[in-house]
């Protein structure tokens, strides 16, 4: 089997209209095209299935049929680069934003981005978060000058849509969306103990957290958001296991 044979086989799997490649065989009287179609079907169905497993909330929101049709278009155009399917769908939220039939749900890309961030948080390395007691040895004025290393499982998702409310509503089957207020929501994901924790943060807090993630000192991050009670937010961030270590 030569490199060109692999290429031909793979290309024909990816293109539903391609003829069955040369050189394949099945017993006399059987339908070779049907047999090749088993592989073609396996590729697309299994990759759609993998997106369905990675984006259960997006799927619940749009319904099974719409989700699978949308995922199939994406899978047709973009195959994963590796076998690590637990993190399949990196470019799925971006795809959704350009998927015309989903245009009437402008929050859908953000909901998918939240799920993607959730998967990353779920899969991130284990590491003990820094306890707030680690600050005791430092003078408050010195503390303003430190930067923080963020825990590997921490993710911030900023959205103009109520993605946290949607995410929570769809945790149960037959979600009731009638009480959702269609306002902007930012979400901080952390994994303080075993599981991923989802916390809503307002715009000011999100700005502060984003600055910390970008490596700003606490003072500089706090200066971005004068209205913010940085002290109590920091305490919350410690409790959520957001901080891995502090650097002077």
């Amino acid at each position: 089997m030569r490199a060109a044979d692999y290429q031909m086989f793979a290309a024909a799997l990816c293109d539903a209209d391609a003829p069955v490649p040369e050189g394949l065989a099945s017993p006399a009287g059987t339908d070779l095209a049907d047999r090749f179609a088993v592989y073609r079907n396996n590729v697309h169905v299994s990759l759609v299935e993998s997106l369905a497993a990675s984006f259960p909330i997006t799927r619940a929101h749009v319904g099974e049929e719409f989700f699978r049709a949308m995922a199939r278009v994406h899978v047709q155009a973009a195959k994963p680069s590796s076998a690590r399917l637990t993190l399949h769908g990196e470019d799925f939220p971006g795809f959704i934003s350009s998927f015309e039939p989903a245009a009437s749900l402008p929050w859908l890309p953000d909901l998918a981005r939240l799920e993607r961030a959730w998967s990353q948080s779920w899969a991130a390395a284990d590491a003990p978060a820094l306890p707030i007691t680690a600050l005791r040895t430092r003078r408050p004025e010195d503390l303003l000058q430190v930067c923080v290393c963020v825990h590997p499982a921490a993710r911030l998702v900023r959205s103009a849509w109520p993605v946290a409310d949607l995410w929570e509503a769809h945790q149960a089957p037959d979600a009731n969306l009638s009480t959702i207020e269609w306002t902007a929501q930012n979400v901080l994901l952390c994994r303080p103990h075993a599981d991923v924790l989802l916390r809503r943060v307002d715009d000011a807090a999100a700005g502060f957290i984003a600055a910390l993630i970008a490596g700003d000192t606490i003072e500089s991050a706090a200066s971005l958001v004068p209205a913010l009670d940085a002290g109590s937010l920091l305490q919350t961030l410690f409790e959520d296991g957001f901080i891995l270590e502090i650097r002077s």
Binding site: F9, L13, G23, D31, L47, D126, A127, A153, D195
Partner: protein, 292 residues
Amino acid sequence: MPASTSAATPTLQGVGVGLKAEHYGAALAEKRRPDFLEVHAENYLHAGGPAHRHLESLRRDHALSIHGVGLSLGGPSPPSPADLAARRALVDRYQANSFSEHLAWSGMPQQYLNDLLPLAYTAESLARVVDHIDATQQALGRRILIENPATYLGFSASTFSEPDFITEVVRRSGCGLLLDVNNIIVSAINHDFDASGYLRALPLAATGEIHLSGHALKADRAGRPLAIDTHDGPVQEPTWRLFDEAIRATGPVAVLIEWDSSVPAWPVLVEQSRMARDAMTRAAQGERLARG
């Protein structure tokens, strides 16, 4: 050149169950433990978090087999050093009792197609597969098992039968055989060959594990039977019958109940395990009777 087996971990034995995330709780609570658990390597290649925490808890009380589905050892290019290092790290992290992969390919570099694709059985393919298995055994520092495939079509360029090709792979690489009995039944239906004859032509002495699973039976547009390797139901009667034959030929080896989609409640898997264990007991008794 054959790689040495890992000295520290005992080999797999008894009847095991394929572990899915749905079963973490039930498997932990179960008093009658399976003899081992098997997981797909690709479900644990990420760094940390809940899935690893569950598997770590289960590993304390269970032997563990790690079964790769995406290394593409039959592929056009060797597994990348990064892919091999990730498997090595996983095998080391869990002190796995066994690592297995497939005689198949899964796509092109940077294009993963998530299926076990068939190979032309030529001298060229043979050399390539053996190279890739060698590289894997070197990277993992242990002998691995290679599973016979379920296929839906063949290649007119093939110059080896599948059992002969597998025999050569085992002989040249020193790898072991993961004997998938359901795959034989599926391929026997699709290629219209005798399952027993195929079984007897395999290098059965190298068997390190047996897989048992279910398949779907359909027909192609020409009305001819087409079996699909679905792993979504109980082990079927023809598979049990061939298993009886297989286990008599291999002697006691590790046996896995493999159920990957439409995953049932844990007790259903326990019941399938019991059926496998009964068949193994019958085979052992038959041996004793035969020896008189």
